[in-house]
Symmetry: C2
Subunit: 353 residues, 2 copies
Amino acid sequence: MPDIARRFAENPILRPADVAPSRDGLNIECLLNPGVFRYDGRIGLLLRVAERPMQEEDWVSTPILDPHQPSGIAILKIRKDDPDLFYPDPRLFQYQGKTYLTTLSHLRLAWSDDGVRFQVEDKPTLLGLGELESFGIEDARVTEMDGTYYLTYSAVSPSGVGVGLISTRDWRTFERHGMVIPPSNKDCALFPQKIDGEYAALHRPSGVMIGGNFIWVSRSPDLHHWGKHRCIAWTRPGMWDSVRVGAGAEPILTSHGWLEIYHGANADSRYCLGALLLDRDDPAKVLARSLEPIMEPTAPYEETGFFGKVVFTNGHLVDGDTVTIYYGASDEVICGAKFSIQEILASLGKQWA
Amino acid sequence: MPDIARRFAENPILRPADVAPSRDGLNIECLLNPGVFRYDGRIGLLLRVAERPMQEEDWVSTPILDPHQPSGIAILKIRKDDPDLFYPDPRLFQYQGKTYLTTLSHLRLAWSDDGVRFQVEDKPTLLGLGELESFGIEDARVTEMDGTYYLTYSAVSPSGVGVGLISTRDWRTFERHGMVIPPSNKDCALFPQKIDGEYAALHRPSGVMIGGNFIWVSRSPDLHHWGKHRCIAWTRPGMWDSVRVGAGAEPILTSHGWLEIYHGANADSRYCLGALLLDRDDPAKVLARSLEPIMEPTAPYEETGFFGKVVFTNGHLVDGDTVTIYYGASDEVICGAKFSIQEILASLGKQWA
């Protein structure tokens, strides 16, 4: 099955240079993985903006949120030849046995009338807050129910990566609900309606020694407390999603069930997109799953960047048969693409066509 | 501060030879980490019983629960010189990139009138059930509230290790509530009463790259759904609990707050016990923590066994100032010891004496 995404001709639609840093002394290295929603007649993106100080040749430096600093951030700066530094990945490093991110992420709004040209707000919309977010907040999914928008995002700190919940009705005032799923967990996507009287979510715990990076479905009476955890999608040895899988944005209700666009990565950390079809009444039942990706990193901006060979989506809009995804390419720029829902379903097998 | 545990003179009080295997063809390798409770005038232990087939010289073999087998279990058997086998630890091995336990654990009741001589039931009380427990169930904590006993235990499968919940009122019929905290998580201890209108629990998520093996406290409206996750106790570099910490049994309410006996391990996987004192009204506030262990593996049965240098407790009885812990020694035998609550508190600092 070929890549069936129709990429925007305008890609990338947003680059780091299009956005003002949150403060003097920081550069924006990457724009990533926006949440997407409609509000007040416009299309909104909730971007992940990743910043760090201008890098000097022999040093690595990264910001950490620190309420005890007058500026609100501390800068950790280490010589690259320091024997206590281990730097395996552009995204993180280890120093004296502790792991740090190379960048600090916040969330920032961008608005558009046409879904292609976006105006990014001048200042951060949401910064990490408190000791469970001192390494920043990332990759918000946005789900609207009854006029309230729920943001599920990765809360990152030395205590681990868990799922935080924030809600808003007007995109100006926000209510913070703390960490709702404990580490190690990310890629939490809420279903847009209750199922059998309870809220439902997809999420991605990580295993240590036993288990792996699999997709789970869980239930909640109130969105704040989660239980009834079930594992529904495992990594598949030898395939494009052999090392990690995780949900994208909220599942899309179709006549055949819930359609979920998810990401999968292999041992080379090449991130592609695929689809899952889940039973409408019991989303722990997987009806179908992509054998081949529905989208692969093949465009130049997807193959090369801060962390190359990545297409990663956690936000979309649905309009009839068309789902428009917004996605992070190479962990550096924001792009868009359209799919036909019927084409995705057909790619899962004849019975869904 | 010295080891302040007063070990039973009769230790070990239960050994694998004291228990009948669950079926022909399996040997009991280890008895571990009992939950403890009082019921109907007697003291009950809910033992973890770890079994595997008799090991042949050139082979490693382990049982896995499999409802498709007439016997209910499948045996995985691999030659020790198989290049796809990696066997780093007596407790687990890797084969063809997947991790397996060397033993399969079930839970079994033992009863006593005096707290020292226990009669073990002939048959397993609780076996793993369903795909999230195919590698067994382990290390149950028991908390009684209003006549119902709640068992929080490790549910182990290829999907990971999470926290399962079972309840009973009579120790004959059991209600299974599924997985209530997702992987990687274990060492879940319920508080024995609601705090500020909600249930509370300590538990131990594990971090991947970021985070670690730390103790968290969470809240629940119903024991089935958990949220409001807070990290309260981290590992401490260079100390006896430098690599992992985890809660023991239910916290003990004292006049100074909640006293929790916890385990900590260092890089040599030497497991000791220490204490945490938590605020009565907000157990996310840590008032005091042991600098030195209150109990270390020093007795011969604690230093040598299936996995040596381990004292691990997740069950106790409280009688006035005395807390009697039951504990797994060297992951092989069951032992008992008594502490004075006042002595534990005094070990945390003069102000708690």
